[in-house]
């Protein structure tokens, strides 16, 4: 969808610097680069324990040209609350407080702090980059790992479905909830921009395929990310004050016939290699039910 010229509309200034410590093909550098461009570097970033704790680079250097506060696993959203209130106490209102957290730090150990900050209406942009397992510790399953996926703690495939945290955040009635994908940078950029212009807690759940953990070649990150959307495994939408809207390519995928079969997405990844036909059907049914939920929400 993004024509060659479109990316040039992004600000040229880079905030993710060369020399960061990400693996080849890692979606973190890709995603965070667009996020910080959208915020024009006017952001204080809180990073709980996650791959980005490493990607940021070791002392005494930092790979990010914005102030960063690294913090313990469960604490990101609450820490952001503290920064925000201190900025307001100093009369600083033109700086965004951003949480950049992995799926483990968001959907599992960090969900209490996130829920608290959302309920308090704190003016924070919370971005969960979702690589669907604890990658930094070596690919253990998280609440965001999809059904059937191999991880080092689900060696025969996970038996439970992915936790729908964007829906949980919608239930908090915060001003803005969106899903995004590193495969669709313009969509991501626009969502971060939009979030940056709203007051309250804004939640963006960013799908971030991990070559190491999902077992696909490192040059295929974008291809995998796009297939996730095109097969309907991952749905791009935004919810502005409770009002649902599909965005990007997902907008034309409400009709099931328009979606590619999920097999096209699954087969690129070794983590799904052992899926039986029954497993694929189970996963397809889950994807379909997810779309039924979206349809209901669109009609609301």
């Amino acid at each position: 969808m993004s024509k060659p010229g479109v990316l040039r509309l992004f600000p040229e200034e880079e905030y993710v610097l060369p020399g960061h410590a990400a693996c080849p093909g890692c979606p973190i550098g890709i995603g965070l680069r667009y996020v910080l461009k959208a915020l024009e570097g006017k952001a204080i970033v809180v990073i709980p324990a996650c791959c980005t704790s490493i990607v940021a680079g070791p002392f005494p250097r930092s790979a990010f040209k914005v102030p960063v506060l690294h913090i313990a696993f469960a604490a990101a959203a609450a820490t952001a609350s503290g920064i925000l209130e201190a900025l307001e106490a100093k009369g600083i209102t033109d700086v965004h407080v951003v949480v950049w957290a992995g799926d483990g730090g968001t959907v599992d150990i960090g969900i209490q702090a996130l829920s608290g900050a959302a309920e308090r209406g704190h003016n924070i942009i919370y971005i969960c980059y979702d690589n669907e397992a604890y990658m930094n510790t070596g690919i253990q399953r998280s609440g965001a790992t999809p059904y059937g996926a191999w991880t080092t703690t689900t060696v025969t495939g996970k038996r439970e479905h992915k936790k729908d945290v964007p829906a949980i955040m919608v239930a908090h009635r915060i001003p803005y909830v969106a899903t995004a994908s590193v495969g669709f940078p313009v969509d991501l950029y626009n969502k971060v921009k939009k979030a940056s212009m709203m007051k309250g807690l804004k939640y963006i759940h960013l799908h971030a395929p991990c070559p190491v953990g999902w077992r696909f070649p490192s040059e295929k990150t974008i291809e995998v990310a796009r297939l996730a959307v095109e097969t309907g495994m991952w749905v791009l939408y935004e919810v502005v004050y409770g009002k649902f809207k599909l965005t990007g390519p997902s907008a034309r995928l409400l009709d099931k016939k328009q979606r590619k079969p999920i097999g096209e997405y699954l087969r690129l990844q070794e983590r799904f290699r052992k899926l039986s036909e029954q497993d694929v059907k189970e996963l397809q049914d889950f994807v379909d039910s997810q779309w039924e939920y979206i349809t209901k929400m669109l009609e609301r």
């Binding site: 002392f59 930092s62 690294h70 469960a74 609450a78 820490t79 503290g82 920064i83 106490a89 608290g116």
Partner: protein, 402 residues
């Protein structure tokens, strides 16, 4: 007309005294989660804010872990912050305590000491405040509401000193202090402002104009240096605590003696060692024994971290016997204070007779009578030639022990 030297005499519980102290210190961010018996500290602060008497933001977080996380975020952005907790709350924020200290943030926290469940118990014990003693927090302990107020003001001054830059917790006993009202001199805002100016804008705050990164990964080639610097901050704090106490005394007319408070100690042959709210009863027990001709004094520990090594050595070096009575037990060893005092004495080649008592766990009263019994027992044992007495669990009801 109010003058800067005006003092309001109010009848306050230690919890309210803490709230007054945070207000006088002009805390900018208060982040807390309710737990008995800390609640009235935060309720009072909420009232100050609502009435417009305190210009601060209160972050009503969903847990103590988040309370300390928010304090960390706010302090790293340059604000003066305050929080308070107790018992399970302190344990729930344990991870973040280490983070706050490692990040060198001058956070001040009130800790209303309370026993830890199970079984549920809301009364005083010092197990909670003693458990984070390796974390890098300075740990102060007050005896009275007045001392709570004064100590919190001093705590900010010590914590924010550039040679220290470590967080401070100030403890006081559940109910005995937290909910017991006594007359407190509340100084004027003007004079507190002179003693404690606004927090200086330190280097390395979170600021988009000068981006720095806090807490990046550090490999083994540098991590040890970070810990060394924390320990150096602790070591420097001893002198700074004394100087701040001295300066405080000059301005406010109250001095506490620094890291320990000595009572009838100088000519004493025996020293009783206590912590916190029972020290008043301990003092009375000392007076009674003195009337009977026993040369005994009291050494009340006011600062647990940095441990008052020099003060304890000086106080105890010429003593015939030392008796430690404490409201805590390090399971599998003995009382924490006894262990630490014994270790300091050993390291300095001092070997008085030594008695150790675990007393008053879970809020059981330790009265003047109880102190007298423990002291009497110890002195008799010493006279019989026993150099090491205890650790004894004072007052344990043997008849209910299976």
């Amino acid at each position: 007309m109010t003058s800067r030297m005006d003092v309001k005499k109010l009848v306050l519980t230690s919890n309210y005294a803490a709230a007054y102290a945070a207000k006088l210190a002009r805390a900018e961010i208060i982040s807390a989660y309710p737990i008995t018996p800390q609640t009235t500290v935060v309720e009072k602060l909420a009232e100050f804010i609502e009435r417009g008497e305190l210009k601060a933001k209160m972050i009503r977080v969903e847990s103590e872990h988040s309370a300390m996380a928010a304090c960390i975020g706010a302090s790293a952005t340059g604000a003066r912050v305050f929080t308070a907790t107790s018992s399970h709350g302190l344990l729930y924020m344990y991870e973040m305590l280490w983070w706050a200290a490692g990040a060198r943030l001058p956070i001040v926290m009130g800790v209303v000491t309370r026993a830890i469940a199970p079984p549920w118990n809301i009364w005083t014990e010092h197990a909670d405040i003693l458990s984070p003693r390796d974390s890098g927090w300075l740990i102060f302990f007050a005896e009275s509401a007045q001392e709570v107020l004064d100590m919190i003001l001093q705590a900010y001054k010590v914590a924010e000193n550039e040679q220290v830059l470590l967080p401070v917790m100030v403890g006081w006993d559940a109910f005995i202090s937290s909910h017991t009202a006594e007359p407190v001199d509340v100084p004027s805002q003007e004079i507190v402002d002179e003693f404690l100016p606004p927090r200086k804008s330190a280097a390395f705050l979170l600021d988009v104009k000068d981006p720095v990164s806090h807490g990046n990964l550090v490999f083994p080639d540098f991590y040890m240096e970070f810990r060394y610097l924390m320990q150096r901050g602790m070591e420097s704090a001893r002198d700074i605590i004394r100087k701040v106490d001295e300066e405080f005394g000059k301005i406010f007319g109250r001095r506490y003696g620094g890291l320990i408070e000595k009572y009838r100690c100088d000519d004493a042959e025996y020293a009783l060692i206590t912590l916190g709210g029972s020290s008043g009863d301990a003092r009375e027990a000392v007076d009674k024994l003195r009337e009977n001709g026993v040369k005994i004094g009291l050494c009340r520990i006011r600062v647990i971290r940095p441990f008052p090594v020099q003060d304890v050595v000086e106080c105890l070096s010429n003593k015939e016997g030392v008796i430690v009575v404490e409201r805590d037990i390090s399971m599998g060893l003995c009382g924490v204070l006894a262990t630490e005092i014994a270790s300091v004495l050993f390291m300095n080649g001092i070997q008085p007779k030594f008695a150790s008592f675990i007393a008053g766990l879970g809020g059981r009263e330790v009265s003047v009578e109880d102190f007298l019994k423990m002291l009497d027992f110890s002195l008799k044992e010493f006279q019989r030639g026993n150099k090491r007495v205890g650790p004894h669990w004072y007052g344990v009801k043997e008849e209910v022990i299976p």
